[in-house]
Symmetry: C2
């Protein structure tokens, strides 16, 4: 698959794929002589995983540090202690984010109720 198809299937522009490649987030099985990049199915999954990690608020360099964990053979991963550190830091972070998000949601719900009451009241008068 060429970059155009990958781009379409993963929902990112080909410019973004080039950019990610420079940052070491994705790499094609590039055809030797020509310059054209060719990708396999795994590349689609990889870009989707990157998008998911981005939604969680990770920066691209942080994603680069752990993305291989999801796609390489685990036995081949270098610097396991370092990866472990990163994962544990992310876990702490995720917990904090969960707490904050839960509180935010409670806040939101009470504000929504308040707004609905105010609107209903305004309608009655």
């Amino acid at each position: 698959m060429q970059i155009g198809e990958l781009s379409e299937r993963a929902g990112v522009s080909h410019r973004t794929i080039h950019y990610y490649e420079r940052l070491g987030l994705v790499k094609p099985a590039e055809r030797e002589g020509t310059g054209y990049r060719y990708y396999d199915e795994v590349a689609v999954k990889r870009l989707e995983k990157i998008a998911a990690l981005k939604r969680l608020g990770l920066r691209l360099d942080e994603i680069a540090a752990v993305i291989d964990l999801y796609f390489e053979d685990a036995n081949g991963i270098k610097g396991k202690e370092r990866v472990l550190e990163i994962l544990e830091a992310q876990l702490v972070n995720a917990d904090a984010q969960l707490d904050e998000l839960t509180a935010f949601k409670r806040d939101l719900e009470s504000n929504i109720t308040r707004m609905q009451e105010l609107i209903a009241q305004a309608r009655r008068t």
Copy 2:
């Protein structure tokens, strides 16, 4: 309180406060002639709320759209329907984020376990 104290207490730089003011996120009870900005206690709370909303991934313009909800008298709020819409959209968003974050956490935990096993195994050999 002047901008220096506010800055220190809220944990943001004075340039950030200037920037937020331009975006309509905060406004001082500015002394008329002089140019110096003076703030009250509410300003500290307001900056803290802004920081909290930022941590949830809202952009500054989105925060600007709802921040008054937290500090103005609710009866004085204009465009209640619009505010309600924004809040409900944020609620949907927060739910999605919660789901994603929960799944991410599960993932993280299983990866941490895997890493720990690999490290222990490497140590034994």
